[in-house]
Amino acid sequence: MPRVISNGNELDVDLTEPEIKQIKNLLERDPTITEWGMFDVMHSEHCSYKSSRPKLKLFENAEENYDYVLAGPGQDAGVIDIGDGYALAFRIESHNHPSAIEPYHGAATGIGGIIRDILCMGVRPIALLDPLRFGPLKGNSHSQWLLKYVVKGIADYGNCTGIPTIGGEVEFDKSFENNCLVNVACIGLGTIEDFEHAPSKAYNPGDYIILMGGSTGRDGIHGVTFASRTLTEMSEADRPAVQIGDPFTKKMIIEATLEAIKTGYVRGLKDLGGGGLSCALSELTGDGGTGAKIDMTEIFTREPGMNSFEVMLSESQERMAFIVKPEGLEEVLEVFRKFEMAYAVIGRTDDSKVLEVYNRDKLVVSLPAIALSDAPTIPREEKRPDYLDNLIAQKTPELSIELEEIIYTLIASENICSKEWIYRQYDHEVGVRSVVKCGEGDSGVLRIIGTNKFIAASVGVNSKHCFLDPYEGAKGGLVEICGNVIANGAKPIAMVNCCNFGNPEKPESFYFFSKAVEGMGDLCKALRIPIVGGNVSLYNEDEVTNTLIKPTPVIMIVGLIDGEENIITMPFKNTGDDILLIGNTKAELGGSEYHSVIYDLEGGIPPKVDEEKIKNIWTFIRELYANKFVKANHDVNKGGFIITIAEMCFKNKMGANLDLNNCFDEDLRDDEILFSESVGRFIIETNSKDYKKIMEIAKNFNVNVKRLGVLINKPELVINGLKERVIKLDVNRMKEEFDSTLPNLMEF
């Protein structure tokens, strides 16, 4: 790590020598130590996306290509117009490194940060979703400790701020054991007017700059540079770089900010997150084409004697920067006083295009605003790891275990089992919007009060699939998460992603990121889904054990449902109804739960996405919905369709008689039929009198639909037509296995 020296002060920076040279050339002088610190933060991977930006350019421009996209990538959150005068904002972000070191505060401040991102779009945060990844829990107290406190951190923070946690996803895999992944997503709702009142830039010279909320302390200094390194044995010593959350203050900031916006005098708004004041002020002025003069002594600090370096780089939580019209200053301050929020008028914008910070009358920072917010990019090399070929060539062992035993084991496995232990701790109903609640469907469904519209949201990806083939795996993730909202009756309308990958300086790590981005970009374009935002978390490697995380491009999809009658739910409903499988089942067991749980195998042939087939399936399902043919729908995911059917049986204690004769390719093995994780499939329940009409529509759209059997009023799954023999499963036992795994592992 290079060391810079200014006026006798020394600082180790995460900048490269060319970057250091470039900065000196730009300024035509040596920066002060505070300025070095600001460059260090703003040029960190976390703030500048210097490795990832060239690849992210592959995503099509959402604002240009979709008329309902109001804000796209590069803003604090993506914003879309959902009609009736409403704007929906959403974003997903990672808080991996802090959570790996200090799970409770790491996760809590992750929630805090994502709430601020939504709030600074001028809208009210109305829902949270949390995709989480840990090492396997069984026999591993470290993984149990991480899960327990990450969940508690999310619950304590989300519950207190009154924002329901409506969904999420958990994956367990050895590669996440030390470098767990904690991604947090938030959705906000407001009127289009609210959104237009709060751009994240200071475009008008002469406005006041107000800092509101928590005090500025010495916590979290250089949190982003910490997040832009791999985890090492020294990482424990970085614990002070993890911020401490205060959900009560956050709740007050939400109310005070929304009320301040209603005055009409707020002209710009920005949260203080990674990089603290440095980041917020340089982005506000840099993006707005203005400059600013800041009086550092006005900033209220948690302790006396903080120097300009500490003040400018502090990442203390719960702070917002407001740009306020001069004539409305008093009215905005009055709102802050009502909510008893601390605030300080710290400066004014001007047309200098320079950010100047004074400590009393001493100028400590004087930088062209654009220099900070426009970091150079670094081209990275990529190379496909040779070991992938061997992995993909791995064969499924001969079937030697009873299929019943395999199914009972799968449904109890950590990745498939019920996540109720987690979501019971989240208030998922506050806000009185939650229509399809945690555990009841593939996605969380919220109503938009005052309209007959509903939004469905889901997050996730299959990291095992992405490991074997990041391009197809990322596409498969997109298909699956879209499938989740489609299963609840929604049309997917926009996507954001959170890319969790390893060290970009290693070509074999960067390969996964590069291919996953290409996969998401290509398929989104083909399916006409705008990518309205994203977050990139690189350096997810544990150097102590030399472990690279499985590539994890988490995808979040928001969908729209028109009318309450069009909401579809997961549980099977009526005896005698047909069970239909939609989509093609192939010998794709690579990265499956079956391989991993039963044989401890990571390899095999992973699922591939056929874009045309997926498009046809989606149109076909919409057609069935329009005809009111579908009584229940659940997308096929981990463990294969047999797990999907079991989950649909649980709620109403039903069962099924299945006959798989003539439903699958002749050359598929029994385990390939049952446990393949081919993507884009659905299990639906329909009335048998509609079967003929459904098959006609299927023919029109060239979609593969197979009647697997009928529902029975008895908790029993009977499967005929396999090569081996008839198998029988007790649904009650499956439910017990499904429900008991997490409590058994976590309550002791």
């Binding site: 701020t161 009154g162 709740k251 909510f339 109903e429 806000g431 009185v432």
Partner: protein
């Protein structure tokens, strides 16, 4: 007569807007959101202390709000018999302010619990149960970390008929399995001696619209409608006096 109800917004309340929504749009009564130190009792026929985490609940839940000027105003309402309702955090505030007996301790699981439960009506003469029958079972959600009811005056409460709701099974059995948080005698809600002040941990405002409810019930509306009935009854008896 026009009825006006105040929903008190403490710093950290988070079910305030939900309660306002249900009163205004579902029940159809005028309800105003009032910042805690702006509240003046004389303008209102009743008040509701909503759920949330007042002042962050970093110390004992509800204790700081119990010292808010809003509670001094509410005390005047308490004395002249107007309704004062505490839901979840509001219940915690009312016990801390000693409007209601007992205390709410950490759940026996030591965890926050969000789920739909059943509660059985034990007393149907109170401010919020007068349109129910004793033995009715309501489907309603809870969402709290500190909801385990405790009192050292159990016998007194039972004798005075102050236990209004108990956690039960769907069929109304009061058994341990139906108790989500370890509350003493499955107690979910209590009232004062005069029955115009009532607190409960479950959220009636989340159980007032069929679209939100797993069994499509709207039992929460009976709770609020009873409150309106109580206010109307008071005005009639005031006139006849």
């Amino acid at each position: 007569m026009t009825i006006k109800i105040a929903v008190i917004q403490f710093p950290g309340s988070n079910c305030d807007l939900d309660t306002i929504h249900v009163l205004n749009n579902v029940i159809g009564v005028e309800a105003n959101l009032i910042w805690h130190n702006h509240f003046k009792e004389s303008n209102y026929d009743g008040c509701i202390l909503p759920g949330g985490f007042s002042f962050g609940d970093y110390w004992r839940a509800g204790i700081i709000a119990a010292y808010s000027p809003a509670l001094e105003e509410a005390r005047k309402m308490l004395k002249d018999g107007r309704p004062i309702i505490g839901i979840c955090n509001g219940f915690q505030i009312l016990t801390e302010a000693e409007f209601l007996p007992g205390a709410l301790l950490k759940n026996d699981s030591l965890k926050f619990i969000c789920k739909w439960v059943n509660i059985k009506v034990e007393n149907n003469t109170t401010v919020c149960t007068n349109k129910m029958k004793v033995g009715d079972v309501l489907s309603i959600p809870i969402a709290h970390a500190e909801g385990r009811y405790y009192t050292d005056k159990l016998k007194e409460l039972e004798e005075n008929n102050q236990i209004v709701f108990r956690y039960s099974t769907e069929n109304g059995e009061i058994i341990k399995e139906a108790n989500p948080n370890g509350s003493m005698e499955n107690i979910a809600g209590v009232c004062n001696l005069e029955q115009n002040c009532l607190g409960l941990m479950p959220h009636p405002e989340r159980a007032s619209e069929s679209i939100l409810s797993p069994k499509k019930t709207i039992h929460g509306t009976i709770f609020f409608e009873s409150m309106i009935e109580f206010i109307k009854g008071r005005s009639i008896s005031a006139k006849s006096n």
